[in-house]
């Protein structure tokens, strides 16, 4: 019983992390119809930069964020303006998969060249302790990840839904000409949108660096899982993805402690196919979601 509780608690915390890692993906997709296969690669790029900051200057990983977040934002703007923007609009969704697949390979190759193929990790003292509540252990690193995820998602949500920028971004995606005609600088806005998505990768990468060792090819493992999260959540819905992430985190945690690890990983895909059969637009997706 307590094992189940432990699995559940860990699942919730991990789910929070998944939500953070998937939020960028959901953003590119929802607002830009771009399937960003390279997102996990950028996550690990973020993790490596955190590692450099930590080993070279001895700073706490989170103190690197003021540098990495703006850097990734700029990188995102560049990727959108120089690459994504050049795709023919009628098949952005598909060509972007291939384009970003190429980007992922590029990043992996560069990481391998600069950092070699060996494992790196960032370990902090607080990352090995845990809080015990009613016999359930809650690791501090996971609590931190959960908190950071929550905070980032809240900011993201505010930016997208409430701000002028968010409105402009959504308008740009839905009808570029009309958006230009109401005075939106569409190129700039789309670039910023991508930048925001990539900025979440900087945060996610930092958290990831804190809780797991990594090497250049680590990102492959995450692609399938994160993609499953955003499909189950309803493509493009940042909120949906967050809910789905927690749901899948819990399912994974519980299945792991009750069955085994293979089945736990399998649950992501089981839910993915279930979602397709029952609700192709995703469990939390909007009514128009299936139209893309």
């Amino acid at each position: 019983m307590s094992l189940l509780a432990q699995g559940l608690a860990l699942g919730v915390l991990t789910g929070g992390l998944y939500a953070l890692l998937a939020s960028g993906l959901s953003l590119y997709f929802g607002v830009m119809r771009v399937v960003m296969v390279a997102h996990p690669a950028f996550l690990f790029l973020g993790a490596y930069l955190t590692y450099t900051a930590h080993t070279a200057f001895g700073v706490d990983p989170f103190l690197a964020l003021p540098v990495t977040v703006p850097l990734f934002f700029a990188l995102g703007v560049a990727v959108q303006r120089l690459l994504i923007a050049r795709l023919a609009p009628e098949n952005v969704a598909m060509m972007s998969v291939l384009l970003t697949f190429g980007l992922a390979l590029t990043i992996e190759g560069l990481l391998g060249t600069f950092y070699t193929g060996s494992y790196k990790s960032v370990s902090m003292d607080y990352a090995t302790r845990s809080l015990t509540v009613a016999g359930v252990h809650l690791p501090y690193d996971k609590i931190i990840a959960f908190g950071v995820a929550g905070l980032t998602l809240a900011v993201l949500f505010a930016v997208l839904v409430r701000s002028r920028f968010g409105q402009a971004l959504r308008a740009t995606i839905q009808h570029r000409e009309a958006a230009r005609l109401v005075g939106i600088q569409t190129e700039r806005v789309a670039g910023y949108g991508f930048g925001v998505g990539l900025a979440t990768a900087a945060v996610g990468g930092t958290v990831l660096a804190l809780i797991t060792p990594f090497f250049p090819a680590s990102h492959w493992v995450w692609i399938g899982k994160l993609m499953a999260v955003i499909v189950v959540g309803g493509l493009g819905s940042v909120t949906g993805a967050a809910l789905a992430a927690v749901l899948l985190g819990v399912v994974e945690g519980v299945v792991l402690v009750t069955v085994d690890a293979t089945w736990a990983t399998m649950m992501f895909y089981v839910f993915l196919f279930l979602a397709l059969l029952v609700r192709p637009q995703g469990f939390f997706g909007g009514r128009l979601a299936h139209r893309f």
Binding site: L10, M124, P213
Partner: protein
Amino acid sequence: KTDEPGAAQSPGQQKGSVRIGVSLPLTGDFSEPGKGIQEGYQVWADRVNAKGGLLGRKVELIFRDDASDPNRVSSDYESLITQDKVDLVFGPFSSRLVIPAAKVAESYGMLFVEPAGAAAEVFEQGFKRLFYAAPAIASDHYDYLADYLTELPADQRPKTAAYASLDDPFAQGTAYGLRDKLAAAGIKTVVDEVYPPETTDFAPIAAKIAAAKPDLVVGGTQFEDSVGLVRALQELKVQPKLAAFSTGPTLAEFPAAVKGAAEHVISPVGWSATATFTGNQELVKRYKEMFGGDANEDAANGYTVGQIVEAAVNAAKCADPSKECQDKLTAHIGQATFDTVVGPLSFDDKGRPEQAHMIQQYVNGKVEIVLPEQAKTAGIVYPKKPW
């Protein structure tokens, strides 16, 4: 065809350098150990050439990257053997890549000494020219530890053990070798978990182990998961009397990655930097000169391959791809004993080495060999201190 079997490969062409073809995973999942083995091969070649070469000919290594892909590994050996017409081949890394590679070498009648295919299955394919250049195959890696534990007095002897293993023939092989021996001796298996390579979160596995409160925790691991498991066990306050992990702790990055939790962690190791076996100190020194860092087990395994083939070539007095020569080399390795940096090695009829791995432990922050008796640099600490 120029590479038609038996065509144009006269045994007399003993000119030029001895060209040795190797395919290694220099990129991809196995790139880290692949690199280590490459360095081991290079150190060996450097030493041989400094001494005037093999049979008076310079040694030239030809590397191919297989990107950790079995398809490529086959292509590589295929092209090395048929197109580059190398004189000898050395093996690649990982049990997963050794089998397809050995198939190619075998079908062209090439001797195949390999540094990394330790899984039991490698030796069940009926290969005649394959030899594993390390002290023991995967399932025997923990032999000394198993002996030690089963011989403990009854009151100190552990009662229960938890096993968590990566789904990989080598990693699993090591853990299951120990499991089977301990189970036979009456130590109960309370958790037996296999996780796929995709696993990124080890906390729930640790939670399972925590719930079982075992005396021993054994991980059939590679690096990433060993670190993940140690951290998760620590966070969930699992305090076993002994913790053993396969590959992770033998890498230099391990202590930093687990932040002090490395103390008293045990793992099997085929090689020790401090051992005085033939050529070992030369390897350590030369490696430092060439690559700046400290040699590791992977490099030593590569070096060992070199040593064995070198001895065979010297004994058979030939180094060319002809059937006669390769037969002679194979026959020699099959029956001789070799002095290597991992100790004296000999092989059974399936190419399995017949010695055993040592057991290392972090004691006071340093890696010490604690088993067997005759090689130990420090006494084994059991039970371990809490982490």
